[in-house]
């Protein structure tokens, strides 16, 4: 019983570490600089940023699971590791297309708000990055899914913070040369600096 409990605690601890690491320390946007296009593109409005975050988290978790299965059951036994990239892109495209249909059915408003950025999750490099990194690190199924979910939460956190700031910046009195994208870039840079403070947390 005691041994079982300590084992359980250990696993919980491991999961917590994976989550903290993927959300804060190795944040896909601000530390690894992956997935910057939606970060800049969908952060003008808080509402659409929240929608995009939810959709991306969903896709990231699902692709992390699906690509683990594809990697473990098809690519590894046949020695086709060199096909990882192309196979994972296939998985991602299918999952994104599925998400698109799902959102169009369940929330037409969100579908209209996200617009072209929903199919563009396919080309979000964070999604492919998560799948490839999971495969390279030899994680098990649970760890892979948690990494995917953590990456999604990290992406959401940063995207929502950033869009909240941009909404304020839109009303702020900014010197003309810095208006628009310029101040957004500077803000993103400062956020990235702040997230560097998390390195060495675990």
């Amino acid at each position: 019983m005691v041994a079982g409990l300590s084992h359980y605690n250990k696993r919980m601890q491991e999961f917590a570490i994976i989550l903290v690491s993927s959300i804060l320390i190795n944040n896909y946007v601000l530390v690894q600089f992956l997935g910057l296009c939606p970060f800049m593109g969908v952060s003008k409005k808080l509402e659409s940023a929240i929608g995009m975050s939810a959709a991306t988290t969903f896709v990231l978790t699902l692709t992390a699971m699906a690509s683990y299965i594809v990697n473990e059951l098809i690519l590894m036994p046949l020695g086709l590791m060199y096909l990882r990239t192309i196979a994972f892109i296939l998985v991602i495209a299918a999952v994104v297309q599925f998400t698109k249909m799902f959102i169009e059915k369940t929330s037409p408003l969100l579908y209209r708000v996200l617009g072209v950025f929903l199919p563009l999750i396919t080309t979000n490099c964070a999604v492919l990055g998560v799948a490839l990194q999971n495969a390279n690190k030899d994680l098990n199924f649970m760890q892979s899914s948690l990494y995917g979910f953590g990456a999604g939460v990290g992406f959401s956190l940063v995207l929502i913070f950033f869009s909240a700031m941009r909404e304020r910046l839109a009303a702020a009195d900014i010197p003309q040369p810095f208006e628009g994208a310029a101040i957004a870039m500077i803000t993103a840079g400062l956020m990235s600096l702040a997230f560097m403070g998390f390195s060495g947390l675990v």
Binding site: I74, L75, L78, L80, L83, I86, L90, F98, K105
Partner: protein, 202 residues
């Protein structure tokens, strides 16, 4: 089967990727059936062609209701802000002859933007209530102003103003709105039995 695949790497690569593609294709096909969205795409397309001034000059509360009404068989020449170009575009979409603008609903004018002469504004908020797109900022007994970028130039705020301090200014062409001008229709030479005459094809 598995042995054959592990021995023949090219075949394994081919079979696994094609298999994945077929699998995902099948899944997506099933999902497309399951999550089918019943929508009237023609209304959306019509709505996109309309100028989105939400001015109500057509007799409907906004552009979307008018689009719905056109889809139900209403006349397509009730939109003065859109003018002849919108009528032509709708006629092309619906594959009907393009009528000229219905004078009953107003005349086509050059695009304007509302401007409040701010030192004359008494802060009555009447124009704010009239604005269909919330493009007027201000509060009771405080000066109001128009957000030029949001203003659709619909004229609805001019009438309620008790001190007549709202002007409709024509929008000056600048680099953001400049478009290639539509080429003039060509005069074509038509040979008749008697002599060659110039005739304008319209």
């Amino acid at each position: 089967m598995i042995e054959l695949l592990t021995e023949n790497i090219t075949l394994a690569a081919l079979v696994s990727l094609v298999g994945l593609g077929v699998l995902f294709g099948g899944l997506l096909g099933y999902a497309a059936e399951k999550f089918k969205v019943e929508s009237d795409p023609i209304v959306e397309q019509l709505d996109e062609l309309l100028p989105q001034t939400q001015c109500g000059q057509c007799g409907f509360p906004g552009c979307k209701p008018y689009a719905q009404s056109i889809a139900d068989g209403d006349a397509i020449n009730k939109c003065p802000p859109g003018g002849q170009s919108t009528i032509n575009a709708i006629a092309k979409l619906l594959d009907v002859a393009a009528p000229s603008l219905d004078e009953e609903h107003g005349e086509e004018e050059i695009r304007t933007v509302a401007f409040i002469r701010e030192d004359e504004c008494i802060g009555c908020t009447k124009c704010i209530q009239a604005c269909p797109v919330d493009a007027i900022l201000g509060a009771a007994k405080l000066m109001h102003t128009v957000i030029a970028r949001e203003c659709t130039g619909c004229d609805l705020c001019v009438e309620p103003c008790p001190v007549d301090c709202i002007d409709m200014l024509p929008i000056e062409e600048d680099i953001e709105q400049w478009r290639w001008s539509i080429p003039k229709k060509q005069h074509r030479l038509i040979a008749t039995s008697s002599s060659a005459v110039y005739e304008t094809l319209t």
